[in-house]
């Protein structure tokens, strides 16, 4: 096991705190995306609080790992993870989507310089991650330094995603890890109705990637996948993370209508109550 029981409980608590922040941010913003950020909270937690080589107090540290969020619309989870990791004060989270806020509706590094890229238009993050990984290879800096690209399943309908996948395979970018949020929903419905993506793992294998499939809510499995990717030397790795959209709030789970809508105040209170109860549960397990 990569994570001790104590570590697992601490990460669960952080993921729960991040989910609560996401709800509060979205209620305060009055617009934004709910399902994706909640569904990716566990992966962002493991990434920022276990896997990443980074220094939030020195965000321009040259040898840091890079995190690119390709599907920029799930930025509430990125912002919350960054705030909890110490990149900026948590109070800023409540300014999401407001005029003048560093936390733009889709990430913009001119407003928040500790971001690696600006993003929003789909299908472009993996290309940029491939570019970073190629640059590091050119400079012989492929030891520990890694590029992580977080992307959605729906954006795989963009042709550019596969242009980038082809190049990543061609260049054998073992310093690159892509994580696909396989939550099966997009704006118009379920991915397999809108545009079938399966057999997804076979597609990536055919593009010469090392493919791992995990339960995107199992912290140990997430940590193990990131760990395993470091031991692949001749290919980039893609982690297909099966997640539940809206995870953590029963009323939001698995419902594509929560893709692009925020909770109102009443729904927010209901969600927070559920998450607080979950937090109590985690703490009582910690004490037992």
């Amino acid at each position: 096991m990569l994570l001790s029981e104590q570590q697992t409980i601490a990460l669960e608590e952080t993921a729960n705190d991040i989910r609560k922040s996401i709800i509060k941010m979205l209620v305060a913003a009055g617009s934004g995306h709910t399902a994706g950020p909640l569904g990716m909270a566990d992966i962002f937690t493991v990434l920022y609080f276990h896997t990443l080589r980074h220094d939030p107090k020195n965000p321009k540290w040259e040898d840091r790992d890079r995190v690119l969020l390709s599907n920029g619309h799930i930025c509430p989870v990125l912002y919350a993870a960054m705030a909890y990791a110490g990149y900026f004060p948590k109070e800023l989270l409540m300014t999401l989507r407001k005029f003048g806020s560093p936390l733009q509706g889709h990430p913009h590094r001119e407003f928040l310089p500790s971001l690696e890229t600006s993003s929003g238009p789909l299908g472009e993050g993996l290309s940029q991650a491939v570019g970073m990984a190629i640059a590091d290879k050119m400079d012989g800096k492929t030891g520990e330094r890694r590029i992580y690209c977080l992307m959605s399943d729906g954006e795989l309908e963009e042709g550019e995603s596969w242009e980038a996948a082809m190049l990543g395979g061609k260049e054998k970018l073992n310093n690159l890890v892509a994580v696909i949020d396989r939550n099966n929903i997009q704006i118009d419905g379920f991915t397999e109705d809108v545009m079938p993506l399966e057999p997804l793992a076979k597609k990536w294998e055919a593009f010469n990637w090392h493919v791992l499939e995990i339960d995107g809510h199992n912290l140990e499995a997430i940590a193990a996948a990131f760990h395993a990717a470091k031991r692949i030397y001749d290919k980039p790795t893609v982690i297909i993370a099966n997640t539940i959209p809206g995870k953590g709030v029963l009323e939001f789970e698995r419902d594509y209508r929560w893709h692009g809508n925020p909770p109102n105040e009443r729904q927010g209170e209901m969600a927070l109550a559920e998450l607080r109860a979950a937090g109590e549960n985690i703490r009582s397990r910690a004490q037992s």
Binding site: S119, S127, G131, M138, E160, E163
Partner: protein, 335 residues
């Protein structure tokens, strides 16, 4: 000013004195880019070149031969190429992406906007085969909207060199702007008007033909500068004094020089191998409308697509030859 009282080439710019000869030396502007690319690579190890299956034609071959470790072949995938270059720039590289203007910045415009310009990464976009002078390939491959779509993006610099020598200098200069740059290049051999000694700076327009008392200012960009100069010479011989400006940097526009020309002449004719809508002439008009409104005429493609033909036939057909420029000058003087 030389002895010719009606106008002459600006001697300070040390231009090619033989440019009006029938056997004027002709080199493709894209070739100058290819030479500049190697010089840029020699001068700065951060320079890398990306190619989308057009390495020879888009003039990346010499760089590839000299610096194979700094060359990336991405296949026919211009959208990916723009965004990959953005990622490489984020890691400290200065990438040149090379293709035809129709595909880059044409097909990949949104990737250029979002991943390059919105991030303000110093990627240099070299678009070859701009203008109808691409010739026989026909309208699909003749980019005549590229100035418009690049100059509207914040952070972008737009340069349209007049000949191969200026293209070489612009390519080298583009490395150190710290911004995205679009280099607009043409396919076919065109007259060489400048020399190695002609000064070049991004953002600085030059008066290449001067008269004592000019009554029209002609502003040209790209290889059509030669047609503008032929027109100036002809007009001068018939007693009409004009000044001709080479506006190779379209953005940021040399506002002071453009306003000074309009003030001096009182009338402006712009000349570009591009749609007149939203191109260089429009950039000049935006500037003058605010600072010094004067009557204007626009030489360029009038809201049509290109077609097959020789470059010369097409330039004439779309009304961008020296006769059309002379006619526009007469017309604006007669109003």
């Amino acid at each position: 000013m030389t002895a010719n009282m009606h106008g002459a080439l600006n001697a300070e710019l040390r231009l090619n004195e033989k440019m009006f000869d029938d056997d004027v030396k002709k080199i493709a502007i894209r070739k100058g880019f290819g030479e500049g690319l190697v010089l840029a690579g020699d001068a700065d190890a951060r320079v890398v070149v990306l190619s989308g299956d057009l390495t020879e034609s888009a003039q990346a071959e010499a760089f590839k031969q000299k610096y194979p470790e700094r060359f990336v072949e991405l296949g026919v995938a211009e959208q990916n190429m723009a965004a990959v270059a953005s990622g490489m720039a984020a890691k400290g590289k200065i990438p040149f992406i090379t293709s035809y203007a129709m595909f880059s910045p044409g097909r990949n415009w949104e990737q250029i906007r979002t991943t390059i310009c919105y991030n303000n990464q110093p990627v240099k976009i070299a678009g070859s085969h701009a203008g109808v002078s691409v010739g026989p390939d026909g309208g699909t491959h003749q980019a005549i909207e590229d100035i418009a779509i690049t100059r509207v993006i914040p952070h972008m610099t737009v340069i349209c060199p007049c000949d191969a020598i200026e293209a070489r200098k612009a390519t080298v200069a583009a490395v150190s702007t710290g911004t995205p740059v679009y280099l607009r290049l043409a396919r076919n051999a065109t007259p060489v008007m400048t020399t190695n000694d002609t000064p070049f700076r991004i953002g600085v327009a030059q008066i290449v033909w001067q008269s004592l008392a000019p009554t029209v200012g002609i502003i040209a960009t790209g290889s059509l500068l030669h047609k503008a100069l032929l027109a100036a010479k002809e007009l001068s011989e018939s007693g009409i004094q004009v000044d001709v400006m080479n506006l190779s940097t379209i953005k940021p526009i040399d506002e002071a020089a453009v306003v000074a020309l309009a003030t001096r002449t009182g009338r402006i004719v712009t000349v570009e191998e591009h749609q007149v809508a939203a191109g260089m002439g429009s950039a000049v008009a935006e500037c003058l409308a605010v600072h010094h409104p004067v009557p204007m005429r626009f030489i360029g493609v009038q809201d049509r697509f290109g077609q097959s033909g020789t470059p010369e036939e097409l330039v004439e057909h779309y009304g961008m030859g020296s006769d059309a420029i002379v006619a526009a000058v007469h017309e604006i003087l007669a109003r």
